[in-house]
Structure formats: structure tokens, C-alpha cells
């Protein structure tokens, strides 16, 4: 049986440089969601968007929006009051 090799380096380390950075630290509802949506509209397919925020509900809701828009959620890191979310269009 032939050996199947899977290269997982990229999957383990999503260290792709962000194409668009959205800094909504200190912003509250609905600004983080809205700013992310604006960034997604500006992004080209394949672009990586990195979002910094401090609004706790948005940490849960941005991933919901990403799913609703059928985009890829690369990572959610940090605490509820200081987080980073990476999205790929």
C-alpha cells in the first residue's frame, strides 16, 4: 500500500500574514461586528483579516457572523476582554 504523506505544517501554524487589520479595542456593540463586516467587504478572496478587540460578546458573535457568511475562522485567541480573531475570506 502506498504511503500517504500529509503536510500539516500550515494547518498547525496559521502564521499567514494578515492582509487587513481591524483594531476595535475599546469599541462596544455593534461596532466590532460592523467593522469586521466592512473589512470582509473590502477583502479579496483568500485575504486574511486579523481583528483585535475587548468587547466580550463580540468574541462569540464575530465567529457566528463568519459562519453565517461561509468564511473560514482561522483562530480565536485571548481572553473575553482582550482577544484576537483571524478570519480568511
Amino acid at each position: 500500500m502506498p504511503e500517504i504523506k500529509v503536510d500539516t505544517r500550515e494547518a498547525q501554524c496559521p502564521a499567514v500574514e494578515a492582509n487587513i487589520v481591524v483594531d476595535c479595542r475599546g469599541e462596544t456593540c455593534p461596532v466590532p461586528l460592523v467593522e469586521v463586516r466592512k473589512a470582509i467587504r473590502k477583502a479579496a478572496p483568500g485575504d486574511v483579516i486579523e481583528v483585535f478587540g475587548t468587547h466580550p460578546a463580540s468574541k462569540k458573535e464575530i465567529p457566528m457572523a463568519v459562519e453565517a457568511l461561509s468564511l473560514e475562522l482561522l483562530s480565536v485567541e485571548g481572553t473575553d476582554t482582550d482577544w484576537t480573531i483571524r478570519i480568511q475570506r
Binding site: 469599541e27 462596544t28 456593540c29 461586528l33 460592523v34 463586516r37 466592512k38 453565517a68 457568511l69
Partner: protein
Amino acid sequence: MEDKADKVTIVLHSGDMDKVYSALIIGNGALAMGMEATIFFTFWGLQRLKRGALEKGPLSKMNMLGLGKWMVKQRMKRANVATLEKMLQDFKELGGKVMACDMTMEIMGIRPEDLRQEFIDEYCAVGSYIQEARESAITLFI
């Protein structure tokens, strides 16, 4: 017909500051989550589309001749809540639709040039609201 699950239509009847916030937050939230959104401005709500009037509404409760509103505004500023102006601009930038009730314009003597026409997509009546609402998964009266 469009996918029924993908649209929110809001009737904004109130011109109270807090209720205008509700309408614009929900509208922006819908657009951000990938839905379409329409706000039908009527009666006191339409007053807020006059030039310079967007932030001028009283608080729906405990306005206390403007004192309550002032206190709430201070707290909103501290919490870094966006202005209604920013929310309306975001709503339009994300593709939200603004409808203005033409009967209200007639009753209240509002001319198109009194309104911020750059934000208004359509001047219309109940039939247009129903057409929007019938293909919306969510419709609200505020």
C-alpha cells in the same frame, strides 16, 4: 423571491433616541451577520431624518426635560457607544436600505429637501413596506 431567512425589515415609528439606537443597532447587526436590512422611517421616526435631527430625539422614558437624556448620553460616551450618525452611515455603507414614509411627509409638511436625501433609497407607502416584510424572516415595529 429572495431567501426569506435572509432579510430584516424594521418599521421605525418612534423618534425617541433610545429607540432609534435599537433600530440602527439591529439593522447594522443584521447586515454584519450577512442579512439584508431595511428600515422604514415613519411618523416620529421620520422626523429624525430631517437635517440635523438624528441625535435630537428625547429618551423614551425618564427624559425629565432632557436631564435623563443628558445623563444617559454621558454614560454612553463613557462606554464608547457609537453615535447615531456613525450607525446610520455604517448602515448605508453595508448596503442597508432606507425608506421614507410619504404620508408622514404630507401630514407633517415635510418636503424632500428637508430630509437627508443622500440616505434615502425610496419614498413610499405601506405597500412597499409589505413587499419588503413579506420576504423577510424578521420584521419589527419600533
